[in-house]
């Protein structure tokens, strides 16, 4: 035992509190402490995860109150898997942004790192908590820090994007709170496992209403249609690494909250039409919108939304193969999309609008970054031998098992759309002449940023060539999500 799951939430919160205090004594600590914290969290989470795989789920009770009465944290093969991805991606984002605003201002960097810590703490909290109200609180922590990070740049339209995000975020949080009130008034408990055990006692009418409010409440973080209007603007206006953090960390937490609600809270087994429909609509609208974008980051944001739609479709099949495919997609998206965002923001460095035409011919000036961007683009559109291929293949095989031919056809068509709009960018990047009038002035990327990109690219190639290195873990996580009874027994077992 190297530590307790509580540390995964408590330490980043404490760090966020200490950063401004220590910053008064030693300015460099503002940059170093988040890195130390995130490195420790990754180490802790990975260790706990391996322990969980060996000896079963850890249920942490807080302040000595046993499961249904107190808040508990559940570190299972599924939540551990996601928490480990999130802490690791947090570390990568820190590594990339270590010199963020280094020669400009101290204040800006301080705020950035405080909110990054809060964002990571909240996202991990959403995943490992076992209490719906606690999850609501973490969703709000993520929300508030995400609004602040979106509004980071003063000169641009970032405040507008953040305001839009805030309106949607707080309306949906209200819906989530109403859903929690309905569940509490019907079942008298907030513990996820106890709700799952007693959900059959709930009036079907109330159950449907509560589920609708839950979907609205969580949908904003999970970027489902039509609650994702904030995403393209927020991704565009926020600083580059924040886009990476949204795609790698926040969306994963949102999707987790959504599927935990559907699979465990409402204890639905078998195919969930609602997730499949929401997912397909999100997928189609997002990918066709991505085709039309002229700004690089908006395109990446729409691509991210589309991928989340595909994840929901895979979850919606409700079979173990479907859940496996969805988790595999989430893992790949968590690695590939930050690579695209981070290398993309090197390519469009210090421009306000980040038009795709501004990267014309950049491959001749910044060859390494361009190759890494192209690697990410090929991987996310699902071309072999990169990691994205395996996850898309597993979605197709899962759909084939269930005879869902319409889904297979749509996924394949959408893949072609994805390839078209990513190749449009790659084409501009590599096969056009560099034009000083429209292209961005090249600059030398920092060494820490390059290390972060190379680590992500290495992971893409590793998973691409040896998918067996991760599939075992994903399989365990998928079994964990499907097996609701075991979850209930594990959490409530000690109390009864």
């Amino acid at each position: 035992m190297v530590g307790s799951p509580v540390f995964l939430i408590a330490i980043p919160l404490l760090a966020a509190f200490l950063i401004p205090l220590l910053g008064m004594v030693w300015k460099e600590s503002v940059r170093i402490i988040p890195g130390l914290v995130l490195a420790y969290l990754t180490f802790l989470s990975a260790n706990l995860y391996l322990e969980v795989i060996d000896s079963g789920t850890i249920v942490e009770t807080i302040a000595g109150w046993q499961a249904p009465w107190g808040i508990n944290l559940v570190f299972s093969p599924l939540t551990g898997f996601l928490a480990t991805i999130m802490t690791f991606m947090g570390f990568i984002v820190w590594l990339y942004s270590y010199r963020f605003k280094s020669n400009v201002e101290f204040e800006a960097a301080k705020k950035y790192f405080i909110f990054l810590m809060l964002l990571v703490a909240g996202s991990i909290g959403i995943v490992i908590t076992g209490d719906i109200f606690n999850q609501f609180v973490f969703i709000e922590i993520v929300g508030i820090s995400a609004y602040a990070l979106t509004a980071f740049y003063t000169g641009r339209n970032s405040a507008e994007a953040a305001f839009k995000y805030l309106i949607m975020g707080s309306l949906s949080a209200s819906a989530l709170l109403i859903a929690i009130i309905i569940v509490y008034s019907q079942l008298g408990t907030l513990n996820m496992a106890e709700i799952a055990a007693n959900i059959d006692n709930m009036d079907p009418q109330y159950r449907v209403i509560a589920m609708i409010f839950f979907i609205i409440g969580i949908g904003v973080e999970a970027e489902i249609f039509p609650l994702n209007g904030w995403a393209p603007d927020a991704y565009t206006e926020a600083p580059g690494p924040v886009g990476g953090a949204f795609a790698g960390i926040v969306v994963k937490a949102g999707i987790y909250a959504m599927v935990r609600m559907m699979f465990t809270l409402f204890n639905i087994s078998g195919p969930m039409q609602i997730l499949i429909v929401i997912g397909l609509v999100t997928l189609i609208i997002a990918e066709t919108s991505a085709m039309r974008q002229v700004k690089l980051k908006r395109m990446l944001a729409y691509s991210s939304i589309g991928q989340m739609g595909l994840v929901l479709v895979a979850f919606g099949m409700g079979t173990e193969a479907g859940v496996f495919a969805a988790l595999f997609l989430m893992l790949n998206h968590a690695i590939i999309k930050p690579l695209l965002f981070l290398s993309g923001s090197f390519l469009t460095f210090n421009t306000t609008d980040k038009y795709i035409k501004q990267i014309t011919g950049m491959a001749k000036k910044m060859p390494v970054v361009s190759v890494l961007f192209a690697l990410g683009a090929l991987a996310i559109s699902g071309l072999p031998p990169f990691s994205g291929f395996w996850s898309k293949l597993s979605v197709l095989t899962a759909a084939a098992d269930e005879n869902l031919m319409l889904i297979i056809a749509l996924v394949l068509i959408i893949s072609v759309v994805e390839i078209v709009y990513y190749f449009r960018v790659i084409n501009r990047l590599f096969f056009f002449e560099y034009d000083e009038k429209i292209s961005v002035e090249p600059h030398k990327p920092g060494i820490n940023g390059m290390i972060a990109l190379f680590v992500l690219a290495g992971l893409i190639l590793l998973i691409g060539f040896y998918p067996a290195s991760v599939t075992g873990y994903i399989d365990l996580a998928a079994k964990d999500l499907i097996n609701t009874h075991e979850y209930i027994d594990k959490v409530l077992g000690m109390a009864f």
């Binding site: 405040a159 305001f163 805030l166 975020g169 707080s170 309306l171 949080a173 209200s174 509490y184």
Partner: protein, 122 residues
Amino acid sequence: MDTTELIRLGVYGTSILLILIGLYAVLTKRSLIKIIIGLSIIDGGIHLLLIGIGYIKDGTAPIFSPGSENAAARMVDPVPQALVLTAIVIGFGVTAVALSLIIRLYRHHNTLKIDEIKNLKW
């Protein structure tokens, strides 16, 4: 219908009315400040609803004290009250962030009208 039911219906009705008024303000008002006021009204309605589900007629505070050791049946549910305190704090935080964003928007655009702030697609 006895008085308890009436009170309960009144509380639920008022809170739903508040939520709808707030929603109306958020969706139709063109001033940023009014939108935030709408959000706060929604929050208020939800908090009232939350307190309402813990209501018991002639309830006492959920504390075991000398003289009321056997009061468990008459105690109001403490959980909604704990939840509402947390929700109030969160609502306060969101409103503060929203108002600071409005200050930023006003400096940038010199207006509070949402129609005139549309550099991004809404």
